[in-house]
Symmetry: C2
Subunit: 420 residues, 2 copies
């Protein structure tokens, strides 16, 4: 077995997987801290912190950080999601120790230089502006907000511009203090990596960190509702969501099989009915996402203003129909898509590294592929139909609409049809 896990005495975890034949590796640190860990007055700070990590440490300027990795042809990046902030690099194998040194430095010793902070504020305000210019990006923020109103889980990861304008150095340091403890961090590496060497380095870099408890994130409460933003755009953007299981529930695989069969590929019902038969749209898909204590089944489509009503109603009709006639062939195909997708995804060191970190964060171990495949195999057609039935009966869906959407039906109309 090539996956190896080691835990330092302060709770800091290291997980690696050697992939024979590769000459490069992905290495990074995944921190259990994201937008849902923020209080209202902190909204946007996890993401701001991610940006500031690259703006200099006690040892390195922002240029030093970029040069260190790019001098050896690698790249370094980071992202913030609702539950995680990740910092990672992809480098050729001989530069793995360098990458680890840089990543640990930016995480543990950010300088938060006041001048750099002002510069980065401008960059983030620009990023927020860009998201507002991208309808099929911002609409997912709105959907999240309608699903989880007035809660950390429903707030935008980038935060609102007014808060970003006000964050101070103390605010950033306070968030680090609260959430960047050794038990909240996972060092993951995949590709041409040597477990023992990484553990030795990690011991030097992270074992001095004092163990400390993190504040737990507020439990998510899926409420649902509608947001309709009428604007003169070319496309009417439609998103619709229903609460689904979180990742601690075995049903999570049933949900993923259902979402795949329903709208996960070219042979899926939504794609066939909306795009192939009716030509209603270019982009359309369904997905199932899972978090610690909740999940979300989501449909997105971009269409024209005069077709958005038909498309919204078709989505509901198809959901209802799936409870009755989702077939063995469709379930089997979705299973094959999930299995092969996983196998092919794992041929990339970055996807593999990401999976290692996520598995250790959730389960404190990495289930082998056979175990995961067995769970996918255990999903039967009756379970999938039953899952669709539960979705229809869950109530409280969320819907966000953007563009020429004045003719779209109300959420109440769609919700009624879902149970009619």
């Amino acid at each position: 077995m090539s996956v190896q896990i080691h835990t330092l005495s302060n709770g800091f975890r290291i997980v690696t997987e050697n992939m024979p034949g590769l000459k490069s590796a992905t290495i990074g640190i995944w921190v259990d801290a994201g937008a849902r860990h923020e209080r209202l007055d902190q909204n946007g700070i996890a993401h701001f912190l991610e940006h500031m990590a690259f703006k200099g440490t006690k040892r390195r300027t922002s240029l030093d950080i970029a040069e260190a990795i790019e001098n050896v042809g690698g790249f370094i990046n980071a992202y913030t999601s609702r539950e995680t902030t990740a910092y990672y690099a992809r480098v050729l194998q001989e530069h793995v120790p360098l990458a680890l040194d840089v990543i640990s430095d930016i995480l543990l010793e950010p300088a938060f230089d006041p001048r750099e902070l002002e510069v980065e504020r401008g960059v983030i305000l620009s990023e927020i502006g860009q998201s507002f210019d991208t309808p099929d990006d911002i609409i997912f923020d709105w959907l999240q907000e309608t699903a989880f109103p007035d809660q950390p889980m429903g707030r935008p990861i980038l935060g609102p511009a007014e808060r970003v304008k006000a964050f101070s150095r103390e605010n950033l340091a306070g968030f680090v203090q609260e959430y960047y403890g050794p038990e909240q961090m996972i060092l993951a590496a995949a590709g041409a990596v040597d477990h023992d060497a990484i553990v030795r380095e990690a011991e030097k870099l992270f074992s001095h960190l004092p163990r400390r408890a993190a504040t737990l994130a507020q439990k998510a409460n899926f409420i649902g509702g509608e947001k309709r933003e009428i604007k003169d755009l070319e496309q009417a953007h439609f998103t619709f969501a229903i609460e689904a299981p979180g990742f601690r529930v075995d049903d999570v695989y049933t949900g993923q099989i259902f979402a795949t069969a329903f709208g996960g590929g070219m042979s899926s019902r939504l794609f066939q009915e909306a795009r192939e038969k009716r030509g209603l749209c270019y982009s359309i898909f369904a997905s199932a996402s899972a978090h610690e204590d909740t999940g979300m089944f989501t449909v997105y489509a971009g269409t024209s203003g005069d077709k958005v009503a038909e498309l919204a109603e078709l989505t509901i009709t198809e959901l209802r129909r799936a409870t009755q006639d989702m077939s063995d062939a469709e379930v089997e195909r979705a299973r094959q898509q999930m299995k092969a997708g996983m196998l092919m995804g794992l041929e990339s060191p970055s996807s593999r590294c990401e999976r290692l970190a996520r598995m250790v964060s959730v389960w404190n171990r990495v289930p082998d592929l056979e175990e995961t495949i067995a769970k996918i195999e255990a999903v039967t057609t009756p379970k999938v139909r039953d899952f669709a039935q539960k979705l229809c009966l869950t109530g409280k869906p969320a819907m966000a609409l953007y563009g020429p959407v004045d003719k779209a039906p109300t959420l109440a109309t769609l919700a009624d049809k879902l149970v009619a």
Copy 2:
């Protein structure tokens, strides 16, 4: 050497590369036909054809096509660029013959069913609408149009909506007849593939095609100019381009090294000056693209309306400065980025397959990595400065602006500064 090439008697070429350790493969057909092969009245047809390939053949309905690949967990996709249309699939190794069968079928035997054609027209109009809602997508079409006005090279790949509304089955069949000959197609496969087996299959599927000459694309003529579309967006989108070498010129490597050092990563001049020092933007980059007979050095940035003038002028100042002081360290770093980026990219079967097809299309052979690396190594600092100097003196730049861009300088002002 694991790359193998075989040519059928009618000129159809097959290139494969076995990648030890992989259990999946990417296989596809790259056709030397894209938007630049279209006459004015055909603009958008190469892309329309790509869509129709998935809408049914003599043997398969559109659902059959999707199911054939997705039943075994694979995926199939296609794209159209200015010089190429590609159809490819990623599957587990045992399904490579199936994938080849499906791809050959959709390419050689499209049904062009009139009802399906009407449905797909709606889908493409929706795709065009979506591109207009995505400022940092559509602006590159406008830049291309200003660089190459009234020429096939400058027209949008999707085509204008009015033309897409009018295309007939005969128009599609005519384009296939003109450009989809065996000498214009390359079958490429990388990953867990068996060269001899693929050649045997290809012989059965493609050797009956009669050899025929394709009409040559009209030579591109970089003219330059300005397009400024003022709109109430959050961001001011700025793009600027200067003609650069096509891929038959050795200088193409100098251009790529220059673009990387100038705006290709976090340590690049543009990123450091515009984003890290001044906080003017979130997205900013430079790139160098190369075609058969021309190329393009491009800068993109998204900023706010009150900063777009500063950003445009900074771009010119930095271009001027690079002619004088681009350093050995910067050139060496860009070299490492290009080399490592290539090595890491080639660990993915899809990137590798894409490279095989492109190399065979351009050179009728696949240069090994050492040969390409030697060309990258041969780029010196004086060559890079000289390249920057040539860019500044080329004249006729192109610029496209979108959003709150009324305060941006005119192209004439920037062009003057470039040579001042």
